[in-house]
Symmetry: D3
Subunit: 256 residues, 6 copies
């Protein structure tokens, strides 16, 4: 049976979306990912991950899947013609408006499944805004499987395969092989950055960056070894991980 929110009628909403329900909002992006990947990468991964998770445990956990938000805050790629992006203000307004509509159902839990790293901090901020303004319990999850859960190591990328790199390219090859052209991919790892102790991706000093700050081609990582098999393993493991996260989310109540 469909667990798509938009497939319900108005009157059904009141019956099916209840305080024990959890709503899942996939958030994608339409932004440059280098010459080997299409703009759609984050959108496809967020949408397919959400769909797979809801297929796996939506019925059991009473999850309903909201329509995927295609475009989001991709302004680190504003320099790249064709990238579509909402400003921070627009993005927050979208989330606030959706939160208000969602809260009108009486549902208590909303999960954002975010496929675009550039949104993470804004969405994290929004979690509190929506909790304060509408009383929703709000959560943020990501489709990228951390190494601890079986993801392939990215040591070769010096931990910097963050945009169009090995894992992302592989997962996308699994999902939409027709849209990948590895022949155009090169290794784009800002080696000097790895030597930093503090100011680096995941370092203790956060820093503002645009995707062409490191290299004019605008992707970061080494996709040259990407393959669909790795992508499938990563995707499946990740969906399993998301399902485990969702199982914990649906009963979460602040330890009370």
């Amino acid at each position: 049976m469909s667990r798509r929110y938009e497939d319900l009628t108005g009157p059904e909403i009141l019956d099916r979306v209840t305080p024990s329900t959890t709503l899942l909002l996939p958030i994608g992006a339409v932004e440059q990912h280098g010459p080997h990947l299409p703009l759609a990468v984050d959108h496809v991964i967020a949408h397919e991950s959400a769909t797979a998770v809801v297929d796996a445990c939506g019925e059991e956990l009473d999850i309903w899947q909201l329509p995927t938000l295609s475009v989001s805050k991709s302004n680190e790629h504003a320099w790249s013609p064709g990238t579509l992006w909402y400003s921070a203000d627009t993005m927050m307004s979208i989330l606030r408006d959706l939160g208000r509509g969602i809260a009108s159902t009486g549902v208590e839990r909303l999960v954002l499944l975010n496929g675009h790293g550039g949104n993470t901090t804004l969405l994290n901020t929004a979690l509190r805004e929506l909790r304060l303004e509408f009383g929703l319990k709000t959560f943020l999850v990501h489709p990228s499987l951390p190494p601890a859960y079986g993801g392939s190591s990215t040591a070769d990328e010096l931990g910097m395969g963050i945009h169009g790199g090995l894992n992302e390219t592989s997962v996308f090859m699994h999902l939409r092989p027709d849209l990948v052209d590895l022949s155009k991919a090169e290794r784009k790892v800002p080696e000097a950055l790895a030597e930093n102790e503090f100011v680096k991706f995941g370092g203790s000093v956060m820093f503002g960056w645009l995707s062409n700050d490191f290299d004019a081609d605008g992707y970061i990582g080494d996709p040259t070894g990407a393959n669909a098999d790795l992508g499938k393993r990563l995707f499946d493991a990740n969906v399993e991980h998301l399902a485990a996260q969702m199982a914990e989310i649906v009963t979460f109540d602040f330890g009370r």
Copy 2:
């Protein structure tokens, strides 16, 4: 070959999206449509119409299809729990942000294909905003075929089958028969309104209304006779009409 904008890579955008290209943005809605139709109606119709048009003439006319905007300004249904809606401000910000990204490609023409009547006036306003701010030539088309182009008559609905009525229900039955439950549909035609000379749908006096101003169930029209055959005829004729409109749009230059 795909004519989906988001399937292009960043570098391809510059090659494929040129001044002679036209971009097509489908705009849906996620809003109550009575007890017989799901929230998705406008989203599905906008998306499927756009896809069919691009399939029919996208290659010939050099049209690229943007990702469908699922949610839009549905505040006439704000009273109905579960309807998702962007405020007028949010909606205008979305269009402005998209316009800026689209204009960065060098494209000259943007067409909004709007599936939700509640957006029409705001989108029409936005046409000028985007023209002034970004220099884009902007257009607004609708998937509902007017009677003059072969659509079935709605005289029985007194011309008021405007939300969940005969034609819309039929088209949706053609596209997603599994999601329609006609057994719940009734005739909801505000007969007294038809007696007005000026203040009525399509009358010379425009008026502000919410979808529960006429009837608590929130749909307007008579879907009881809807059927997929009618829906198919309407949909096909409409796609043909949209294709004719697009053919004129792609060379439009203000009569200069």
Copy 3:
């Protein structure tokens, strides 16, 4: 007796402006109208039309006339030095603020009498905003008499006498003959546009335009044959039409 809202005292408002009252807000513009007409055209026509209607039936229908809003959203003329214009955001804020003040009286009906076509879609959007936010019944009327009600044919202008053309110039000559200089007027009809099937004024494809998109002089129509006699006939017929519209508005209740 005066039916000007602003001539009432604070305490009188509560006595005279009641749920059975209708408030009428004329909306003008201060924008270029070519070399033969002053910036004031839309302001004068909106104001005089409103005054004439209220003189004709204000007492009978319990209408009070609000102060005319002189400036409005004329950004299609932003290229023309001296045109004053409010942005869409400012204009919506003005309407929202006025709506809040108006609703504080307990009145139920507000009619916008709009003299500037560039406002129409935004005002139509505002009708719903004000209905939703303040519970007002809201209406939008226009002073230009449609052909169906006795207006002179504009076939010679190919239906495109939309800004500074025959009818508008004639009406203005009737109202303020001293401010018209027909010797400067020429025929400015974008003939090629009339050949379009869809993308044209009143066509099924709406399009974004600025007033200098067609011709650098920024007016559209053929005012060369304008005269005050025609203007008087148009104005009188239009006031009569507006009065008929108002008579229907003051009892309108959504067909309930």
Copy 4:
């Protein structure tokens, strides 16, 4: 000859509104003024004062009169049903939009003639905003003649005839005698306030107040002795004073 800005055509603007021109914007209000005066008071006084000044010296000083802004920031009367008021944000947006349009003419000087005291601080703030944003030389004048320039003493009102008091009522009786009903006026002077050394109207401590903070009837002063003769003397003296101010303004250049 008319010195109304809106009576010019678009092409005339470029000829007549030049760097040596000064534009004058009258700003009124539509707000309660007690039971003896209509909502229109500030609007009428601002408009008539501006008109008289321009009649007196507009030709000589090259002043053009902009359309009067009827409604403004009257939120100290928000408690009074029927008062129309723009929020501080809306009011600033209006001024910014007008400033942009005005600056497009190439004019260098803009004078705000403010009839409503509740606007004064916001308009004063706006003077700098418009100077910084558009390079305009900006000025703010008021129609109420200060005692130092021959205005009648308001000692009997303890200097607190600030809203609907003796002078304002008298001036309005001169301009629109039909709209004043002195039989409803009482003395409304907050005597205790006058005993304050610092916190009072014109004292060294500014304070936030609403017009019903002092008395539920919402006017402040003693209009009981008002008369049209006094009003005429005040009005004429004030116009003379405004003309003298304008004469200085039109050559003002920061003492450079």
Copy 5:
């Protein structure tokens, strides 16, 4: 004992900040003050004045001192690299947000002690906004002692020692002698301005100005004779004056 608001704990707020309490918010600025004074001038003077007043009478009058707002609306110095300034919108948002937090304590009186003249009109506007929105009784005081209260005459500066002039420089020399370099100071008095009858500082015509409108060095007055002794006398007299103002404020109730 400390009378700093931020030294209270959350639970203590409810005990110590009551309806009989007055909160005092010092407001500074970080803006150019010529070559002889640092950016900090207004911040230091506002902070030190507030501290001295609260030391003098905080306990007696039940005043609590809020943290000093360092930066404010200094856009008259936007031309000067390094000046930090909030836009009018940002400044109003800050005040609104602070007002909401302050009102949540149940306190009734808020006093703004403003060290930067460029804020005065905006803060005066904010007094009413905060009164209307949160019900607070709001007040605005300044640390500069007016001549009437014993301040030194600035006749030599023709009344125009308004930014970095004799008095301000002297007070600052008293407070932070190490940060003043009088050797760089010159007389910067726009003499021609003093000849104006209306358009001048404190004249009946308010005008918009930026600090480099008069002289490229951006200060206005004659600091050459400044000295710490004068500064001490001015500062002490001013604190005494502020204390007298506060004594009146804490019982002010609109003369009711």
Copy 6:
């Protein structure tokens, strides 16, 4: 010598604040921290940490210290009377305005030293906004020393001493011993939360929370064992850590 930005004069800014300079903005908060700590905690720690770092290496690394922002986004404590907080919009506007002023100096690097965890995600978002809008290289550091750099273990708090817990209380006792009352402190550790695998502080699922979601007293951790000695060790180690971070920041250039 002072390294306070606001102690410079306008002309000095151009000499001293150059492309090789780094500006440091401490960001505090004024918010409830339980019954044992004052509202000032985050403000004091941010300010003192920044001051100590600049004392230690400001001269060597060419760092100038901006005035501490006292109040910030503390809306997780909006329920607690007296907490002052800026909305996300206000906070972003403040940062944007400061960024514009800072960029006007020609400086290239701006570091935010954030003392309030509730700001972290918004500030992280702002890093990119300021980089994109003003071209600044932007960084975010925190004064809380991570365990890996010698911080005391908080295993006893199950890793949840996040607001008013052992470390924060100890550091504050070192800095302002007079303002701490440990007798009012209790252990407030949401033990059940620690059993979660994903949804917990630092877990892979981020979640929206208000500080009274866990316990009505609004602090989280176990401050009962706090002491100034531990506080001094933590503070000193942290300053050392911040200095090391700054040393890397001042030459950071994206690995180019």
